[in-house]
Symmetry: C2
Subunit: 946 residues, 2 copies
């Protein structure tokens, strides 16, 4: 019958017969081939907002207008079929594309089909690698690549990942790129010592083995380090933003310079060829927001190619050609050489002895947290609840909602000057504004979906300020209910803290069973108190534990019964750039304390304790601007440190960088561990890099690494794991010690382009931003530590969503339900997934299909119990969806999995074999991420109105 009819997918993936070979210019085997790659690097926000960059607004800040870049490049490509261009950031390309006429669109398609315009990378943005979470990176890549795929088909599929600007490179990014089917990866920034060594050893091109768990070559990625960052060689920048001399080839005019230009170019090409392996070299001919007037570039490049190649007649063995990264990569592949193998990552990044870009691991901690919460909201509300609630989610009782707004906002927030915190203040505000706007659109989806699932159209109220104990409803209502939606594929228990003004409440669960709850006084922090005064002011907090089923919700009722603070925080003073070794100050990018010994904010703290059946708390005040609550909930295996820092005082004219340091008796031998983009964990060692002999020049900043979700130290007996609620920087400077930077406020720009000191204030915090966050500490025996921290971190990333309804449900808006209380509890899964399996993505793909990603979240070595293959029956996964068919895709969902054929590269050590596995009854190996499906489905149960 109809239920089992297999519905054809709307999106047709044409077989990706490679057009690269055909569109690449011929090279000359007996010559040095110089691949000129015209390109622009268009930040999706930095000194200007993404839309200001698109339109070319606020050119007083920076001259940059992407609409004109794309206009101009297309024009110039049409003038000479030899010319090539690559485009990277789909966030911009998408904006431009939808403003074009259909004839222009047709023209661009032709250029793409002929390989004259090539997309590289192709995500919505070029994501940051140090401060992003893999979940959001996959989403933003998927969004960009999906647009390219739907618009251009296989010729629009990028073959090359291109992260020319991010400030250091994460191994997990390389792993993801490999699983997205990229043939290679190019970047521009790496440690200056690392580069120097690689130049000597000709190891600027290498094979990166990006997972210690996945079977090679699953996570192998050919990686190339570009010769000049991403700029043209010196003297050959012909953009309107450059001053290099144009090629003056009219002998009738003064200063004919063709001979000079050709000689300079040959000298540079020869020097470059000396530090690379093959007789092919690449030159990036472009830079930030270049090609707004592409004629300047191409006119001179045409001449350069003409006049240099004319020297071949004089015996010069140099062949210059327009090229693209994929054409260049193809030649490297054809060279059939072996390449050095790298298994660690490219952090931290230093561009000089005292210039470690480790500050941005923590810069703008409030934005970093907001981005992380937004991801949680996006996954829950815009994605999962849209699927589970059916079409009525998008257009239902509460109006029209959508997920696109939030998805786009999240996608631009992944940019390497967004969540990284390295943008100007007004741009940071814009990212936050976009996320807030996205959330508004999502709330409609949530309300519609919950109405459909629960059968109640009661108004849903959202309390987005619970982190500062503000929620007007709970503060004033005598009776309200709390819906707790759990986005994880397993049941969760979660502490709920609600601001209230009463002194006694009763709480009951969906079955009407009483839940233990306690009221305590809200811990007072001077700064947050000031803010809360403007918004409302709850005296007390109601605390209780809630439980919610996998991919579902439960509802709790709250009724008023009666109207009625321990570790140490320290600080480094920030460098003002004024000491004898270097004048590099700390700034948005760079961390450089003026002393290696942190200042203790206070040896003693004022403390209060709270102890009841739900929670034990120690509330600590170290200074007016630093306080902390240490909490242990009943049954919890983790200790919670809720820190509140700010406004950082600057009346001594010194910037401040506040860390929290956990000193233990664990014998660390200078070794510690940090995660990569929230997934696999890498070992770190103080003053050590795995691939070169480090000369350490910054004892603190040079030992900081990004912490996206967790870090730990261990010895044979104990492992202390810290799970963070956002990306932060941290390190282990002393034996047994683990420090995490919480907040930073700086008075000098660090001269990397932002042009502003990182000195955050806002209307609400005119004296400096106050930031609050949580660290979860878990102390376990090392062999079982992952069994704790993996689920703990997951719960931190994908939080339950709380929604509220006031009073008793209005009987008139209640839908008919089959039995009492049934609609107060719902699960979208037939059963919880095994602990090792994480439901990473569940999102509407098109009308009749959803995108599903499952991952194995344990590394192969970290758990006896969980680091094992797990088998899942996809047909029996969902409680309300009938799966009619499924098709496996690459990780970024822009290619059928069985058509994902990547270049094979020979490492200098190690061999790989392809790992195969079947689909329907799905077995997932440890750390496997690439289980991405499109499922065709029908709703088989709720909502009732289908």
């Amino acid at each position: 019958n109809d239920l089992f009819l297999f519905i054809l997918l709307n999106i047709v993936f044409l077989p990706a017969t490679s057009a690269i070979g055909e569109s690449c210019h011929a090279t000359k085997p007996n010559m040095l081939n110089v691949h000129l790659v015209p390109h622009t690097h268009d930040d999706v926000g930095w000194l200007k907002t993404v839309d200001q960059y698109y339109y070319g607004d606020r050119n007083d800040i920076q001259h940059a207008g992407v609409q004109y870049i794309l206009d101009s490049v297309v024009d110039q490509l049409l003038k000479n079929p030899d010319r090539r261009f690559i485009y990277v950031e789909t966030a911009f390309f998408y904006r431009w594309w939808k403003q074009q006429s259909s004839s222009m669109q047709q023209t661009v398609k032709q250029l793409v089909n002929e390989g004259r315009l090539e997309f590289v990378n192709g995500g919505w943005c070029m994501s940051d690698e140090a401060t992003t979470h893999y979940s959001a990176v996959i989403d933003q890549m998927t969004m960009g690549l999906r647009f390219l795929n739907e618009t251009f088909g296989p010729c629009g599929r990028p073959r090359v990942a291109w992260h020319i600007d991010p400030f250091g490179h994460a191994r997990e990014h390389a792993s993801m790129f490999a699983q997205m089917g990229y043939d290679g990866f190019f970047f521009g920034r790496l440690d200056y010592q690392d580069r120097a060594r690689r130049m000597i050893d000709k190891e600027q091109e290498l094979l990166w083995r990006a997972s210690d768990s996945l079977t090679p070559p699953m996570a192998d990625l050919f990686t190339g380090i570009l010769p000049n960052g991403y700029n043209p060689p010196q003297g050959f920048c012909w953009d309107q933003s450059c001053d290099d001399p144009p090629i003056r080839d009219d002998p009738d005019l003064e200063d004919y310079n063709v001979d000079d230009v050709v000689n300079r170019f040959l000298t540079i090409a020869s020097a470059q060829a000396a530090v690379y392996k093959t007789n092919h070299i690449i030159m990036t001919m472009g830079s930030d927001f270049q090609y707004e007037n592409a004629n300047l570039w191409y006119k001179n490049l045409d001449k350069l190619i003409h006049y240099v190649n004319a020297q071949q007649a004089n015996g010069i063995k140099v062949n210059v050609l327009y090229s693209t990264p994929s054409c260049y990569l193809q030649e490297l592949h054809r060279a059939n050489l072996t390449w050095s193998l790298k298994t660690d990552d490219f952090f931290p990044y230093a561009d000089d002895a005292h210039d470690f870009w480790t500050g941005y691991f923590t810069s703008r901690p409030a934005l970093k947290r907001y981005e992380r919460i937004s991801n949680s909201n996006l996954q829950v509300t815009c994605n999962q609840l849209e699927v589970l609630g059916g079409p009525v989610s998008r257009n239902g009782h509460f109006g029209e909602g959508d997920s696109q707004t939030m998805m786009k906002a999240m996608a631009v927030a992944q940019h390497h000057d967004a969540v990284s915190g390295t943008e100007k203040q007004h741009v940071a505000n814009d990212y936050a504004r976009r996320l807030a706007n996205g959330w508004q659109h999502c709330q409609v989806v949530v309300s519609n979906s919950l109405a459909a699932l629960s059968g109640s159209s009661a108004q849903r109220i959202y309390c987005d300020n619970l982190n500062i104990s503000v929620c007007p409803l709970t503060e004033s209502s005598k009776k309200f209910s709390v819906n707790v939606y759990n986005p994880l594929a397993r049941p969760v228990t979660w502490p709920v803290r609600l601001p209230v003004n009463g002194t006694a409440y009763t709480v009951s669960d969906a079955k009407g069973k009483a839940v233990d709850c306690q009221v305590s006084v809200v811990p007072v922090s001077r700064a947050t108190q000031e803010v809360r005064r403007n918004w409302g002011f709850a005296v007390n907090e109601l605390v209780f534990q809630v439980q919610a089923p996998p991919l579902g919700y439960s509802t709790y009722s709250v009724s008023l019964v009666k109207d009625g603070p321990p570790p140490t925080s320290t600080k480094y003073n920030a460098s003002d750039g004024n000491n004898s070794q270097s004048d590099q100050p700390s700034g948005a990018y760079i961390f450089r304390p003026n002393s290696s010994t942190p200042f203790i904010i206070s040896q003693t703290a004022k403390t209060e304790t709270v102890q009841n059946s739900v929670v034990q708390e120690v509330r600590q005040w170290f200074a007016p601007w630093v306080s902390q609550v240490v909490r242990l909930y009943a049954d919890s295996r983790a200790l919670e440190l809720e820190w509140t820092v700010g406004p950082l005082p600057i009346d001594d004219s010194l910037g401040k960088e506040v860390i929290t340091r956990l000193d233990t008796s664990i014998k660390t031998s200078e070794i510690f561990y940090t995660d990569s983009n929230g997934r696999e964990v890498l070992q770190r060692k103080k003053d050590f890099r795995p691939t070169w002999h480090l000369k350490q020049s910054e004892p603190i900043a040079g030992n900081y690494y990004p912490i996206n979700s967790r870090a730990f130290i261990k010895d044979d007996v104990d492992q202390l794991t810290v799970v963070t609620d956002r990306s932060q920087g941290g390190g282990s400077i002393h034996n047994g010690s683990l420090e995490i930077m919480l907040h930073r406020r700086l008075l000098y720009d660090d001269v990397r382009g932002v042009g502003e000191p990182l000195n955050e204030t806002s209307n609400i915090f005119p004296e400096g931003l106050v930031v609050r966050g949580r660290l979860l500490l878990s102390l376990d025996p090392p062999p079982t530590a992952a069994d704790t921290h993996r689920p703990l971190a997951q719960e931190m990333v994908l939080q339950p969503l709380l929604t509220f309804t006031d009073g008793n449900l209005n009987p008139h808006t209640q839908l008919e339900v089959s039995e009492e209380g049934e609609n107060d509890r719902f699960s979208g899964l037939q059963a919880a997934l095994p602990p090792a399996v994480h439901l990473l993505t569940l999102t509407q793909w098109d009308k009749d299909s959803v995108l599903l990603r499952l991952e194995h979240q344990f590394q192969s070595w970290e758990s006896k119990v969980n680091s094992q293959p797990v088998t899942i029956n996809l047909q029996k996964l969902f409680s309300t969806l009938e799966v009619l068919g499924m098709s496996e895709l690459n990780l970024s969902a822009n290619q059928w999995k069985d058509e994902m054929i990547r270049f094979d590269w020979k490492p200098q050590t190690g061999t790989g074999h392809t790992h195969t596995y079947s689909v329907n009854l799905m077995t997932i190996w440890p750390t496997v991420l690439q289980i991405t499906f499109i499922l065709d489905y029908m709703y088989k149960l709720f909502p009732t109105d289908f």
Copy 2:
């Protein structure tokens, strides 16, 4: 026989059926029509050299590349047939055109034919008006317009003169433009008080009657003052060099601003309409070197037009359209109004109370002189001698020579940042280098021509440094001959001063007759002495008077017989911009002395006198850096003041502006007279402007006027006329006094863009430039003064050319001559022309035709004898050329005279009638300049080798 065969002209002037009406966009009679005129203003040298500007070289100085502008504009015009563009400077357009493919050339022709690309002005450059000589202006206009005519035909003929940037406007320029057939004239700069008055009275558009002698409307020129200089209205600059917000019309992106843009535009348009007469207004949408990326401009202008005109549906009576100056002018003409009449000029130009642009009348006096000499050389050698010597002039015994190099160098030197002295030093050097290079090419023409005419191929030697008494030949040779070529159409007598080391010489003329000559000691100036020491060092000067026939030469032989200073100079100290009234310093543009009382350099002078049969001299030394020789030659009616000024001392950290002041007993009543571009004379009155009530704020600088060739003061009895050898600034500050600024050296930039103080040094003059010049003083009864100063100035402008040959002529290189001595004397005319008639131009036009310009050089009121019509028989003009046919043209030689039909405009006062006259037997009325012919000719006498 063949001699009288009429040879067809190569250049075909198609009938100029106006395409303007067809190509202009329709306007709306019941609305305010806003004519948007996209344009670029491309200085032919200023901060960069002309070729640097063309190529976009040295963008570190200023971002500007004209090649890209033209590339870009053509591309963008093709994208939308509604778009318009005007181009002005043919020096650039020519460079670009010759680099284009024939298909691109065809495309551009199509754009021109359709009126989408319109040439305005069209001269080689946009000439300066204060410091140029009419002769060179006519030449540069002719060169540019000829190129356009030959390339594009009548559709390429500019209808509108366009001097948007020059710093004040000369009446003679207006007269010339009228005689070149322009229908109207637009400019941007005028005195700020003048503009204010005209805005109130709606007299920013007017009829300029540019001659007091020519019959109206012969020199009437409709003149429009542009609303914003030549810039776009505030907030509407969309060039890549501007920061104004683009039109953001995508409601999906942030900051949608269409409503705001439309409202701001309507407000501006309405304000502008209030100060103009018709329901048409013009907006210049562009500025300096804009449209390098024309897409930015046009994309936003397209939107502006679309969104503003969309408001017509809402009852807004504003119609915006792409337009050109000629389309706008056509609408003004159709309005059929009367226009206020102006008969004076627009000097001096002040843009604020203390900001009089009168310094540049004198800035760079050495360059100004070099330009004037170069014009003389060009007329003589590249033009006249090329014609008289026949084809062998261009390719003869001494190799290949050409006139184009010098013509182009002279043409760019007319630019308003060239001879004006308002360019950067390296650019001034480039102009001089071009002139020097042109002169090298010309010398070959001269040598070839004189060899052909004289029958002698003896080596011709050129002594270009006679002004500092350096000539290696005459200093060392015991026997040499001097060829004196006279470019005037009447015989001249001329003093020759040659540096020699002997103490006695004999000089004989072409007939062998002895000529009185005298040897005296070279007057010593410390600075020039230093220079001459490096080059040679003559102790003595040989002085004698030479005579030369009209348009011909005579030769003098010199043989060695025996081996062997009074007026006052004062100075103003230049303002350093630091006094209470204004911080405007003197600079290249602006004159602003720090006191109204000049400092007397010295009340007494060290003097020497020389008196002999040839000359009487008083040699005066006022200071080490100011000296003067006062000379009176036998039979001369003028007193010569040879001044030598420099290096101006700056050890007191004050700039210096050196004037010479002639104090007389003439009762001037604050009235004095200066010429306009070397032609008609205008009356000036201290602290007075004819068309508005002047509030004088700078008593000296505000009373300075340009002097191009002469100035005079007079009363009923006496007229003192000063003839200058270059353009200078001057005024009459006190009764009976006339002062002329000779040299200036300044230590501050005057903030008009040059970015350099006018502080000239050179390799030869590292301590500051030394400048030498001559003033000729003539004291006459007023009614006959012009009979003296007209020919005197003429001789100053077109000097005899001296060439030298060493020793006896070598007999082996002598050509056969019919009788002894005949070839030592030659005249190209059958007879001298009457004194009133000046042979302005005689130049090769093409292989079989020459361009001839005759002018009547007296104003209608200035001479009883000479201010009369004169009749010339053109058939009997030349001695060696047989005139086969002749055709009269407009002044710029780009249109047949009888096809020159200009718009007729109604002045508010006065009426005009067309003046007609016949051709063959040519009668020339006083001040008439427009007698321009192409003559078809054959050589009938010499050279013998035809």
